[in-house]
């Protein structure tokens, strides 16, 4: 019932474009994550979908209904779109207590008293806010406020839910439990979910598909695995999973396998292209071994809990990231072996 299709959608603020020519479809019931660097237009896209902003070009349909059409000068107002929204800044109503903030959407939809109480209680419970029901938003901690915003959005039954970094202020344990709340909600209602996050692992863990955005454009829109394992271009390769992109020369195809020269060594690569030009090196493509072909020096060590992230500089000057359980010191020399990285072509 709620396929969302965008066609040639664009938005400028005072002439400065924030979104360009977005054409895509979020399928009914799909869980889509929007991932991208700060300022790339994620919030803007959500606001266009919700109807808070009129696009500068293009059109948006939700299900069979065209909700915004610039050329036709048509616009369905937000309150008629039946869309839930979680604001990056929470936007709690400061004059209502937590319970009222959460129950308000139900009041609007004219549920019975008993039902309102029941559903509100349930939403408060799911977000762990039962004890705070009578507080005012100003008396809550940041994470608690964020959870109120979540509860408010999830309490009603929207066709689509737009979430703008809804877990940014929550700790890992709470995130995990909130993620469960989302997936349960998603399963129960079948609503299309569009979820903005800055956190890749969150996006990958929850989303059916991820749209990676940069500078107002969607760079790649794919399943988490495809995105991670088969990035389309340099931006995606570098942004997702912290890959290092290096050029590749002398590509040869033998049987079904591709080989090429990367950082001075000849390795096997995987690719969707016949003539890829670059490879993406991620920590899991790099194994530390005394005998590794590639010599590198440890430049920085970061503790990740149980393991270390090594930032190494190869002899040719390229920075490569590797993971290890053993501790290395800055300045140590080590050898790296590259195992079948992903390659793509870029002009």
């Amino acid at each position: 019932m709620a396929d969302i299709s965008l066609s040639a959608l664009g938005k400028s603020f005072a002439g400065a474009p924030a979104l360009h020519d977005i054409t895509t479809t979020f399928k009914d019931g799909e869980f889509v994550a929007l991932l991208g660097p700060s300022g790339c237009g994620k919030t803007t896209l959500l606001r266009l979908l919700a109807g808070f902003e009129m696009p500068t070009t293009g059109q948006i349909s939700i299900g069979p209904r065209e909700v915004a059409h610039v050329a036709g000068n048509r616009m369905v107002p937000p309150e008629d779109r039946n869309i839930g929204f979680v604001f990056q800044s929470y936007a709690l109503w400061p004059h209502m207590n937590v319970r009222r903030n959460v129950s308000y959407p139900l009041e609007i939809r004219r549920f019975s008293k008993a039902e309102i109480t029941a559903q509100t209680d349930q939403a408060l419970q799911a977000t762990g806010l039962t004890d705070y029901a009578d507080r005012m938003p100003s008396e809550l901690s940041g994470g608690q406020r964020q959870r109120v915003a979540l509860a408010r959005c999830l309490v009603s039954h929207p066709d689509a839910v737009l979430l703008d970094e809804p877990l940014a202020n929550l700790d890992v344990a709470l995130r995990a439990s909130m993620q469960t709340v989302f997936t349960d909600f998603h399963k129960r209602t079948g609503a299309t979910m569009v979820y903005v996050t800055h956190d890749q692992s969150e996006a990958m863990a929850m989303a059916d598909r991820i749209a990676v955005m940069d500078k107002g454009r969607i760079q790649q829109f794919d399943t988490p695995q495809t995105l991670y394992e088969r990035p389309k271009n340099r931006f995606v390769a570098e942004f997702v999973g912290r890959g290092t992109v290096v050029p590749m020369r002398g590509v040869e195809k033998s049987d079904s396998a591709l080989h090429g020269h990367v950082l001075g060594t000849r390795i096997a690569v995987q690719s969707g292209d016949d003539l890829p030009s670059h490879v993406c090196l991620r920590p899991e493509n790099l194994t530390i071994s005394e005998t590794g072909d590639l010599r590198a020096k440890v430049a920085r060590v970061t503790y990740l809990g149980g393991k270390y992230l090594l930032e190494t500089v190869a002899d040719c000057g390229t920075r490569l990231l590797a993971e290890t359980r053993a501790r290395f010191d800055v300045g140590m020399q080590l050898g790296l072996t590259i195992t079948t990285p992903w390659a793509f072509s870029e002009e």
Binding site: P78, E79, F87, S89, W93, P94, I108, S156
Partner: protein, 567 residues
């Protein structure tokens, strides 16, 4: 499919905007338009010759100058006094804030001519106070208040409550963290105030200043009492002077002068808007706890100073008023053997008109405050969200009925409403014509503070409600109105207080049975019953104070920030 509006607005918004806008325009601008027609038609023919003549008269020019000087500097005095109080009360850890705020509302409650009267009584050669202190100037010495400075001073005092109330409502909206961020950056007291608090309250301050200026410009009572004896005419007193003349073209001349006042007011408003349009700040989120920056050692001196000011501007004139109400005739010194309650018993117990006037004024003031609130809140919100050319035009003209001298507005109301089209019915002579006149006149008083606060409201508040499907009406009722409640309350209180004492508009519109308190006081004073007039004015002050106590008792039922004297 909806129609296109600028930001996620909706069809219902456009529809509602046009409806309310049309109501508001017919309420406020129709009388002004009627007056304009009067000014440019001379004996049935349209022409500007009379206008040119009136505007060229030297008296017009000098009255214009006087008006600008007194209204301008008077506003300055109000701004200094009112904002000093507002900032200190809202931002620091002063004690007894509630009492202070309570007292600061009182100047607004005393009709201007009574203020002037009581001040002249305590300042002149016959001042009971000065006589008692042995400081009374000799007979024949000039009354120092009969001067431009006197007018400025009293205008300033009279209107400081306006600044105080609007500014305080604005200050309530500043997020606490924004001030904390400045302090942690090392900004100290005054600097935080000047560079962070002040710019964020500028919209409210500007709105307050604009209303104050317009109020001062249209004030008749004070320049009449102080300026006429000094031969210092302002535009409203010049209008009165014209009316006292006998020519056949008085109405046209008066309309032209009124238009001149209106033009000055609109220029003032547009200037304010020009300076304000350059900055727009949204206050994201609302404050939780009131700010209370410690004053430290300065607290006691500041408190003493503030209370001293309150005593001077409040207790002294009240004392003068009380003294006058207790003597049998004007000029009789107040001594134990001269004290009489005759005036009080006469005006309160024997004159039936007093009760009637109380009922009328109370009904009119409450009614105007309520109707205007219902009208202005949605209108201000809608105009803010979907500005149209018409709404922008209206925005710049809506102060006109407030700026015109009251007499002129009431002439316009008579011209407009004496014969209703298509019927034999007339509103003239009924209380409704006064009510309509009040709605027109006090529209700006309600609208401006609300507009200022809505301009700063984080748009996400409304959007959040939209996203859960709240209709326009529900959004207004549940989110927008409560969030702008402090400003709306400030506006409503101002409307109530000014309307409760109003004289100049009802002066021409009352008839037997529809007298207002202002009219009764004026008639008493005009008939030489100064003592009774003073007794009645004192009664009004006491009644309003009683009302405020009542509100205080019910304050827990109101949204936060609505009762201005609560912290």
């Amino acid at each position: 499919m909806g129609v296109l509006t600028k930001n996620g607005g909706s069809r219902s918004e456009g529809w509602l905007l046009s409806t309310i806008l049309i109501v508001a325009i017919s309420l406020t601008l129709a009388p002004v338009l009627r007056l304009f027609v009067e000014g440019v038609t001379d004996q049935g023919a349209v022409g500007l010759s009379l206008a040119g003549e009136v505007l060229r008269q030297p008296s017009t020019l000098s009255a214009l100058t006087h008006s600008l000087v007194t209204a301008g500097f008077g506003t300055l005095v109000s701004v200094v006094l009112g904002s000093a109080f507002a900032f200190l009360v809202a931002l620091t850890d002063l004690r007894a804030k509630a009492a202070l705020v309570f007292c600061l509302m009182i100047p607004m409650m005393i009709p201007p001519q009574i203020t002037a009267l009581s001040w002249t009584q305590i300042m002149g050669p016959s001042s009971v106070l000065l006589k008692t202190l042995g400081l009374a100037p000799p007979l024949g010495s000039p009354q120092p208040l009969y001067s431009a400075q006197g007018i400025i001073l009293l205008l300033g005092i009279q209107h400081m409550s306006i600044i105080f109330l609007t500014l305080r409502a604005g200050l309530r909206a500043i997020p606490q963290e924004v001030v904390e961020a400045a302090r942690i950056s090392g900004a100290r007291g005054l600097r935080t105030w000047w560079q962070v608090v002040m710019p964020l309250t500028l919209p409210s301050l500007a709105a307050g200043t604009a209303i104050t200026f317009v109020t001062a410009l249209g004030n008749f009572g004070i320049p009449a009492m102080l300026g006429i004896p000094a031969g210092y005419a302002t535009l409203p007193t010049l209008v009165y002077q014209k009316l006292a003349g006998m020519g056949t073209s008085v109405l046209a001349e008066v309309s032209i002068l009124a238009m001149l006042i209106g033009a000055v007011a609109v220029t003032g408003i547009l200037t304010q808007r020009f300076f304000q349009s350059r900055q727009r700040v949204y206050l994201v989120g609302a404050t939780s706890r009131p700010l209370a920056i410690p004053l430290g050692a300065a607290r006691l001196p500041v408190e003493v100073l503030l209370w001293a000011v309150v005593c001077t501007i409040l207790v002294l004139p009240m004392f003068g008023l009380l003294a006058t109400s207790l003597v049998p005739a004007y000029g009789v010194p107040l001594r134990l053997d001269t004290v009489t309650l005759e005036a009080w018993t006469e005006v309160l117990l024997r004159q039936p008109v007093t009760t009637r006037a109380f009922a009328n004024s109370f009904g009119l003031a409450i009614g105007a405050a309520v109707v205007l609130m219902l009208l202005c809140l949605p209108l201000a919100w809608l105009m803010e969200r979907n500005p149209t050319r018409l709404s922008r035009l209206f925005d710049s003209l809506l102060d006109l009925p407030y700026a015109l001298p009251g007499v002129v507005l009431s002439i316009a109301m008579i011209l407009l409403l004496i014969k209703l089209p298509f019927t034999d019915a007339t509103l003239y002579g009924t209380i409704w014509i006064i009510f309509l006149a009040y709605l027109a006149r006090f529209f700006a008083v309600m609208f401006r503070p609300v507009q200022a606060s809505l301009k700063q409201l984080d748009p996400a508040m409304g959007e959040a409600a939209q996203s859960v499907g709240a209709s326009l009406f529900q959004r207004l009722r549940d989110v927008i109105v409560p969030l702008s409640a402090p400003a709306a309350a400030a506006g409503a209180i101002l409307v109530f207080l000014t309307a409760f004492n109003e004289l100049t508009v009802s002066a021409l519109l009352w008839s037997s049975g529809t007298e207002t308190l202002g009219v009764v006081i004026f008639n008493l004073d005009d008939s030489g019953e100064t003592a009774m007039a003073s007794a009645l004015a004192m009664t009004i002050v006491l009644v309003v104070m009683a009302l405020m106590v009542l509100v205080q008792l019910m304050s827990r039922r109101f949204p936060k920030g609505v009762v201005p004297w609560q912290t």
